[in-house]
Assembly symmetry: C3
Homo-oligomer: 207 residues x 3
């Protein structure tokens, strides 16, 4: 019955843009961490991607506020675009902290977290378009499990990173700086999991 009412389909385009934007950010982050040169230019590029994310989020909220019939619950749309935006925000914050802390080079664990973010956001790029059709349920569930598995991997890397930090003989300033950076990057992997959970919820509700 709901199918008879014309719905605002533009939301799907915006969610998919946000997912692609977060993946672009993760690739730029991994590039910075794997080749720590031209860091000013690379950090500026990540900041640009973060600004693009802000615009997508703002457009989504504006559309939400002006749309009477939405393809699914307003609160779900709000939460979904919010968590998608958090991913790129947190990656940008992590890089910004590396710059202002004058970190001389990334650690293996930081590179590991960047890889988890590349892989998680790659799945989100494939996952979001599946929301357009309720037939996609089995694939949605499979992808959500994959994102959850990656989040566990991110958690494992963070634990390893924190343990190493205090066994490394780092000075206090470097312990404080790296603990901050690891926590920010690990939060970004949590937000990828949040996005997957929200997508799963929406799909089940509309199945």
């Amino acid at each position: 019955v709901f199918r008879l009412i014309p719905r605002e389909e533009g939301f799907f385009d915006l969610f998919e843009q946000a997912a692609r934007n977060s993946h672009e950010g993760a690739l730029a982050l991994a590039d910075l961490f794997n080749d720590f040169n031209n860091i000013d230019a690379k950090a500026a590029r990540i900041e640009d991607i973060e600004h693009a994310g802000d615009k997508i989020t703002h457009d989504t909220i504006t559309k939400l506020n002006k749309t009477f019939i939405t393809p699914f619950d307003r609160e779900d749309i709000h939460r979904l675009i919010g968590r998608l935006d958090d991913i790129i925000d947190l990656m940008d914050t992590g890089v910004s902290r590396m710059m202002l802390y004058k970190i001389s080079k990334p650690t293996d664990d930081a590179r590991g977290l960047a890889k988890v973010l590349v892989d998680s956001t790659a799945i989100l790029v494939e996952l979001l378009p599946l929301l357009r059709n309720e037939k996609n349920m089995p694939d949605i569930l499979k992808m959500c499990i994959a994102v959850n598995t990656l989040e566990n991997e991110g958690d494992r890397i963070q634990k390893h990173a924190l343990a190493s930090l205090f066994e490394s003989g780092f000075d206090a300033a470097n312990m404080i700086k790296w603990k901050d950076i690891y926590e920010i990057l690990e939060s970004a992997t949590d937000r990828c999991e949040d996005v997957a959970n929200i997508v799963e919820s929406i799909a089940i509700k509309n199945a």
Copy 2:
């Protein structure tokens, strides 16, 4: 009038399970802190309780997504199960940090926070069943005040703990580690208060 519509009562069972699970976690945490032996086995037990909490939360969200008439607002159900799950998650994270930081023994303040968590979750175990009947309003309000009082006590302990930390002559690594652990445990007491506030809100709305 709403009473004429058959409602999905299974949500109450799940909330009560989640409350009992968080209390079981708090008891295991207090046992670990009061008798710091067999710590690997005790930490593994807390992790198991945390996994049980994840399952209860997942079952609740799945039921929510499949249920047309819910006993109260969908957003309240979402928030309530989320905050209940946060309690055990944070206790597990606190213990996991103690392990990876190779903490040699808990402090009095850590034991104090564990006691606040035991007491708060004991009240939640009694509080959640009262949601089943709108006649329970006076008892609900009394218990919510008791949880708020305990959260203030948790706050007081955390302040004492942070002040002592910097007067203790601890080295920088131990300051960083303990500040992290205290903040995580104190957040768990905040989540107990959140649960009480949500229960109060639901009860007032449905009175």
Copy 3:
């Protein structure tokens, strides 16, 4: 058509009280930072303002739970009063940390953040009354942009503060203490931006 139904207008009074209360807190914070004398009395005054904020929030939630027709979405009312309350809570937490950390004097960056909070909350005091009338849209948008600009300024000050912290030759304890205080104060500026964004959302939805 909705205008024909008598709506509960008391919510506007409560939002405006909460905005004025957060501004009063910001002025007290700036006074403490600019003239670091009688600090016990000044901190106690900020704690009183925080308690007043708790009462406004509690009254709003109680009214929300008892009101059938609300002037706008229940979730928006919940979010708006929650974020307004966070502003004064975070300012009080920041001051409380300064006291228990026995900070000998505020930094220029801390004073800068206090000024941003004074300016942001001053705009919120003017912004909230505009929600009463849908004709005010252009002014609402202008003020929201001004709050966003101030949040960027807060972000810039925090970055400067964190960078200086690690170049200052501070000892580890002072790095940890000040990082904590800066993060808490900067979060308060984020919550001002959240309030502006929620007001903008409500205004667009009801335009």
